[in-house]
């Protein structure tokens, strides 16, 4: 197999700036609100994080917590007509993607930042040969000839571990298994050597046995290319061993974020704790997990006052329903931040409030 990273490296366009030394992606106070007949849905509400080149950020949260909206907002793929007053900055190599129009974004999409989607059956065009679907990006971004693009598509299919790529290139998605389709999607996403890959639940629709293979493949391709990855999942376990940092989302906000090991070792936010202690659900279809706590994420049209997690939180005190906790660093590690008045490891809300209300013993 040829070394394609080198071959394509020659094609790198001037948009790719190698002299920039800040974080690859710096998202600041991102807000994505949708206008709906029911009211304004606060799907992403003031999210900030940074991601360095070559690193992996895991984003975890129950279904409906805003992970998909967040990831699509980064590439400006949210339905524009529904957006209400989009706020924040998305600095990619220092350039803000937020105010860009479709035309400007097109140079970034696929070329600098790529996405892979949850369901490889619906995310591949059913009436287009997989080879042509890979060739499309190459032809648009690199202006490749048909023959060159096809050759490169076959190469890419080989790189993502598809056997006899020269044959598969002319097949349609329905002729491939679920795992193979996901590999094709990865080949499409990586065709133009992006610096950042956003993988939104890349294995949720796949069999458990295939899951690990796909995640391993992603890991390998990532380190070969020194590519940064945002790995999104509702399953903390999927993200666990693979992310450098983890952000936990709840109701459109980041509620806890920090280095993966730290987050597992010194979990602070009761919601993260609940995610950690969830168990695989045997009865329902694969990939659903039972949380240790009941209830569902709140309606994002009218989230509860105070801490958004308080209606479900086993540690909630009176204060939690009134005042929203800030996203503040942990005493032991400034890189570990969380939103909680009564974090795991200390007294629960009722305990702490009772202690406060009790008159102090006066020392004589």
């Amino acid at each position: 197999m040829r070394n394609d990273a080198a071959a394509v490296g020659e094609l790198l366009d001037p948009v790719g700036r190698s002299d920039f030394d800040g974080p690859l992606l710096d998202v600041r106070d991102l807000t994505t609100h949708f206008q709906t007949p029911r009211g304004i849905v606060r799907a992403v509400d003031g999210v900030s994080f940074t991601l360095e080149a070559g690193r992996t950020l895991g984003i975890v949260g129950e279904s409906g917590s805003g992970k998909t909206v967040l990831s699509r907002s980064i590439l400006g793929l949210s339905p524009r007509r529904q957006l209400v007053d989009p706020q924040g900055q998305i600095l990619f190599e220092g350039r803000d993607l937020r105010p860009m129009d479709e035309h400007e974004l097109r140079e970034v999409r696929g070329r600098q930042i790529s996405m892979i989607f949850q369901d490889p059956m619906t995310a591949l065009n059913p009436v287009m040969k997989v080879g042509r679907q890979i060739m499309e990006s190459l032809r648009v971004h690199f202006d490749m000839s048909k023959a060159d693009a096809r050759e490169r598509a076959i190469d890419l299919l080989g790189q993502v571990g598809i056997p006899s790529p020269g044959v598969r290139v002319d097949e349609y998605p329905h002729q491939l298994s679920g795992g193979m389709r996901q590999r094709v999607m990865i080949a499409i996403a990586l065709s133009c050597e992006p610096k950042l890959l956003i993988a939104d639940e890349p294995t949720t629709a796949l069999d458990v046995t295939v899951q690990a293979q796909i995640l391993d493949l992603l890991g390998r391709l990532q380190s070969e290319r020194n590519m940064a990855v945002v790995l999104i999942s509702h399953d903390l376990e999927v993200v666990g061993g693979r992310a450098d940092d983890i952000a936990v989302m709840y109701a459109g906000r980041i509620v806890e974020m920090g280095p993966a090991a730290e987050l597992f070792k010194a979990t602070r936010m009761p919601y993260t704790d609940a995610l950690l202690r969830s168990v695989p659900n045997i009865e329902d279809p694969p990939h659903t997990r039972l949380l240790a706590i009941g209830g569902r994420p709140p309606d994002l049209v009218s989230p509860p006052p105070g801490c958004r997690f308080n209606p479900r939180c086993p540690r909630a005190g009176f204060r939690c329903g009134v005042q929203e906790p800030p996203l503040a660093p942990d005493d032991d590690n400034v890189h570990h931040i969380y939103r909680c008045w009564y974090p795991v490891g200390g007294p629960t809300g009722p305990e702490a409030e009772a202690a406060e209300a009790r008159p102090r013993r006066v020392e004589h």
């Binding site: 699509r72 590439l75 793929l77 007509r81 479709e102 974004l105 097109r106 140079e107 970034v108 999409r109 696929g110 070329r111 790529s114 996405m115 989607f117 369901d119 619906t122 995310a123 591949l124 065009n125 059913p126 009436v127 287009m128 499309e136 990006s137 648009v140 971004h141 349609y172 329905h174 002729q175 999607m185 499409i188 996403a189 133009c192």
Partner: protein, 316 residues
């Protein structure tokens, strides 16, 4: 794939038998003695000749097989006139190309109008562009084709003199004049059809544009036109293609009237004249030809549909 086509060919043969049988029956649905109806003023000798030609004295089934045998060999019977009559085949062989041209032009024109507008309406769904196109579509559906034909004749033909108002020019004679002579009839037939196609493509395309694979294409930075034409059009065009095929029937019906209005010497005009002259043998042959044409067109559309959708192709 091969087995599928084989099955469809058998179906086709069965349907053709039914269609020809009912066309054949036409002459027996006439009240009274067909010979007297067709030749009201002729001599008894002529009527006897007719009965002998058609075999009216034989049982129905053997009449049919005899008629069918002649029909497939291209013997469509003849006209019965006071002083002899020409074979129907001679008239039909001149009329058929004209009608086919009219149908093809009308269909192509309808698609040429409908596809870009349908894509545009879907892409701009919910905006004033979409509402404007939808209103236009409903308006053109509300106008009967013959009324449109008369309006076009009056304004573009008589007043502006851009197009000839009647008659037919052979392509070989003058291509420009040929297309000029066919434009108004084809357009009159096509407009309502275009409205139907546009609405259909619009709604299928709107559904396609919601698909994940379109989002995927967008996330790869492909230009809008490329997404619309290369990624969204084909998966959105299955019902359009099917309806375009089925609509050939509607077009054939419309063409009879349009040919009569523009005096285009096609099958429609031939039937029209044959009915008014009570030449039911000729009517019978024309109806059978049109019926078979209709069935064969739908057969071809069905095959095309299979070729267009790889999921169907491989399921076979």
């Amino acid at each position: 794939m091969g087995a599928l086509i084989g099955k469809k060919v058998v179906q086709l043969a069965a349907v053709l038998l039914v269609v020809t049988f009912f066309s054949f029956l036409l002459i027996h649905l006439l009240p009274g003695d067909p010979a007297a109806t067709i030749i009201p003023l002729g001599t008894d000798a002529q009527r006897t000749q007719l009965r002998k030609d058609v075999g009216l004295d034989k049982p129905l089934v053997s009449q049919y097989t005899r008629w069918l045998g002649k029909f497939v060999r291209g013997d469509f019977g003849r006209y019965y006139r006071q002083f002899g009559g020409e074979p129907v085949r001679k008239r039909l062989s001149q009329a058929l190309p004209v009608s086919l041209q009219l149908l093809v032009y009308a269909e192509v024109l309808a698609l040429v109008i409908a596809i870009p507008l349908g894509i545009l309406a879907a892409y701009r769904a919910g905006t004033w562009v979409d509402r404007f196109l939808s209103t236009g579509a409903f308006a053109s559906l509300a106008i009967p084709d013959f009324v449109l034909a008369l309006v076009l004749i009056f304004y573009l033909g008589v007043k502006l003199k851009w197009f000839p108002v009647l008659g037919y020019v052979h392509f070989g004679q003058s291509p420009t004049e040929h297309f000029k002579s066919m434009f108004l009839p084809a357009f009159s037939l096509a407009l309502a059809q275009a409205a139907v196609y546009m609405r259909l493509l619009r709604s299928d395309m709107i559904a396609t544009l919601q698909e994940d694979y379109i989002l995927m294409a967008r996330s790869q930075g492909l230009p809008t036109w490329r997404i619309l034409l290369r990624h969204a059009l084909r998966p959105s065009s299955f019902s359009l293609l099917t309806v375009a095929g089925i609509s050939v029937g509607t077009l054939i019906g419309g063409a009879i009237v349009i040919e009569a209005i523009f005096t285009l010497p096609g099958v429609g005009l031939t039937i029209f004249q044959a009915i008014s002259e009570r030449q039911y043998i000729a009517v019978q042959a024309c109806v059978a030809v049109i019926g078979c044409g209709y069935v064969v067109v739908n057969f071809v559309v069905d095959l095309l549909y299979t070729a267009l959708d790889p999921r169907v192709r491989h399921a076979a």
